[in-house]
């Protein structure tokens, strides 16, 4: 399988009162055709900023360096006009908050067909038909009626289905889903994930799934990258990751997930919190919170090491390699 998206040495910085700070710092990864890549980490790890960098939708004070190749095109050097042809058409996005991510003043139908009208040479009727078909495809009851309704008339789960219909309307090759189920009830979460899985199998689209929930990752993803403080700290196939997590941060994340079949006295937590972007530690960024920290950890940054398919950014494995 070939890569549909390659991200190389991505650096995203923001101008703030404290000067320029990096929120994404030298991130490398790729997404293969038809693959679901999970991007995991606590909030503030740079997951969402990575996705907005790919879409070039960063807030005004943000800037990006590095290389993002999508189907042979370098997204960062495209003109804004060419980028607009890609957004919503070849790469589509599903956002976290279905409540606020839809325009309250436009009907559901209008918001779905907007992208179709923009990217395809179709008549209004064809676009409308496409919108209704998409509503059907995402499992909406009475799609013809929903077409003319407003977001406030729908429940949260229904709105997220509308968001998915909107994202899928132009048959994108890549969908970036940023915490698509976080804002929803647990039962609705499962339905939405199932729907995304089904649509992915039908259309063969690739998905970049951003989440902090390892359960979602286990259910949906083929491969995972774990991000911490703006860097990739581990990359692995899904089975590898759950069988033998390498990075202490990944292990920490896994231990903090409650599991029904396990008899644990208490849930472990990772002490401390993600460092702020303008006060990064000089060595390994996870060292201050790490239970296995060694003297070298606070002195030098470890590289992302290849451990035979699985990659990890940690001094624990550097010795083994050398």
């Amino acid at each position: 399988m070939s890569d549909i998206l390659q991200v190389q040495q991505l650096r995203t910085r923001f101008k703030t009162d404290q000067g320029k700070v990096s929120v994404v710092d030298g991130v490398d990864f790729s997404i293969r055709q038809g693959e679901t890549l999970g991007v995991v980490g606590e909030s503030g790890c740079g997951k969402s900023m990575t996705s907005l960098s790919i879409m070039r939708l960063l807030p005004q004070n943000g800037s990006t360096e590095g290389k993002i190749t999508f189907e042979g095109k370098d997204l960062l050097s495209l003109s804004e006009k060419d980028m607009q042809k890609i957004r919503g058409n070849e790469i589509a996005m599903i956002f976290q908050e279905p409540m606020t991510s839809l325009n309250p003043l436009h009907t559901v139908g209008r918001q779905i067909e907007e992208a179709v009208l923009l990217h395809r040479k179709v008549t209004k009727e064809e676009a409308k038909k496409r919108a209704i078909d998409m509503l059907k495809a995402v499992g909406m009851p009475r799609p013809e009626e929903i077409y003319g309704e407003y977001p406030h008339q729908l429940s949260g789960g229904m709105r997220q289905r509308v968001m998915i219909a909107m994202a899928m309307a132009c048959d994108p090759k890549l969908i970036i889903a940023d915490e698509p189920t976080t804002a929803l009830d647990v039962t609705i979460q499962a339905q939405i994930l199932e729907l995304m899985q089904k649509l992915k199998e039908q259309t063969g689209t690739s998905i970049m799934l951003i989440t902090h929930d390892l359960g979602v990752v286990a259910e949906m993803c083929d491969r995972v990258i774990v991000m911490y403080a703006g860097q990739v700290v581990e990359e692995a196939e899904i089975n590898q990751l759950f069988e033998s997590p390498k990075h202490p941060y990944t292990i920490g994340l896994m231990n903090s997930v409650p599991e029904l079949d396990e008899e644990r006295e208490y849930l472990e937590t990772i002490p401390g919190s993600v460092p702020l972007a303008h006060q990064m530690p000089s060595g390994c960024r996870f060292a201050p919170r790490c239970s296995k920290a060694m003297p070298i950890c606070s002195e030098k940054q470890p590289d992302l090491l290849d451990l035979g398919g699985q990659k990890c950014r940690c001094w624990l494995y550097a010795e083994v390699n050398e």
Partner: protein, 317 residues
């Protein structure tokens, strides 16, 4: 529909209170209104006649209901000085004022919408600073002074526009519009500054909303995003307050009409105040308040058209 009925019902207590306040106006005159109106030299017959005409010899509650009854039939009483029905006077003067109001509003919108958008889109640049400062300046210019400066520049130094000389629209549309340009600019500058500031801050709030990012993620360019998604949402608070602006505008027109000698409604009030024609003042004030109430009602209904959340009874927030 329920929203419309509810909104209509809400105007009833307001109209009731407006009527009481307007009615009380004549009774706020210190001393005996008829005496004050006629002066000390009036004959006892004339004095008695006016008292009967104003209904002052009846109990006050009775007076109020008589007055309201007449008002509901469109009878605002007789002008004390001109001896013609006040309603006729007002109807004569209203067209010019309505034309001025519309013209002023159009002028204000033409200035405010582009500058408001520009200041918001280019936020924190010199364009933003300059236009925001100019807007504060525009809000601070006394409109009668601006009117005079405009007259000096456009009619004395350059004879581009007539300084006065109102012609009804249907007699000579071109002369009418020419005579309206300067008054509309003189009144509209302040309103445009107010509108521009409101639009700017409202746009800045909407621009950061999630659905704007969704629109961009669909591939819309900046212009389409602003016009298709941001502007309409940003206009909601602007539209609601622009209803309140009409009140300020009518007040501002009192002065503009006097300076440009336009025989409008505002000038009627000023003239009547100086002639101590309290009946006309009373009628005119009632009509001005009614205009404001009606415009606000229309604005609220328009608000429901713009924002689908209103009709279903779910708040805009």
């Amino acid at each position: 529909m329920l929203f419309v009925v509810k909104r209509l019902l809400l105007t009833i207590p307001i109209l009731f209170l407006v009527s009481i306040m307007t009615f009380s106006l004549i009774h706020m005159i210190p001393g005996d209104p008829a005496r004050v109106i006629l002066g000390q030299e009036a004959t006892p017959e004339a004095y008695q006649a006016l008292r009967t005409e104003l209904g002052l010899d009846q109990p006050i509650v009775q007076q109020y209901f008589n007055w309201v009854g007449k008002v509901l039939r469109g009878d605002l009483g007789m002008s004390i000085t001109d001896h013609v029905p006040v309603s006729d006077l007002i109807l004569q003067r209203l067209p010019a004022t309505i034309e001025l109001t519309i013209g002023t509003f159009i002028f204000a919108l033409i200035i405010a919408i582009p500058t408001g958008i520009l200041a918001a889109v280019r936020r924190n640049t010199w364009i933003d600073y300059t236009s925001s400062f100019l807007a504060l300046g525009g809000m601070s210019i006394p409109n009668f002074w601006l009117a005079m400066m405009v007259i000096i520049y456009f009619t004395v130094e350059h004879t581009w526009f007539p300084s006065s000389g109102y012609v009804p629209f249907f007699e000579d549309p071109k002369a009418n519009l020419m005579a309206m340009v300067l008054p509309c600019i003189a009144t509209g500058l302040r309103e445009s500054a107010v509108l521009m500031r409101m639009l700017r801050s409202s746009l800045l709030e909407v621009v950061n909303m999630d659905f704007v990012r969704t629109a961009k993620a669909k591939g819309l360019n900046e212009v389409k995003t602003i016009l298709g998604h941001v502007l309409r949402n940003a206009l909601i608070p602007v539209v609601t307050t622009s209803g309140l602006m009409v009140a300020g505008l009518l007040g501002g027109l009192v002065i503009t009409e006097s300076i440009f000698s336009i025989p409008g409604f505002g000038r009627l009030i000023v003239e009547s105040v100086f002639k101590r024609d309290y009946v006309t003042v009373q009628g005119a004030i009632l009509v001005s308040a009614l205009l404001v109430v009606v415009v606000n009602l229309l604005v609220d209904l328009l608000y429901a058209v713009i924002d689908p959340r209103i009709k279903s009874g779910k708040g805009a927030d």
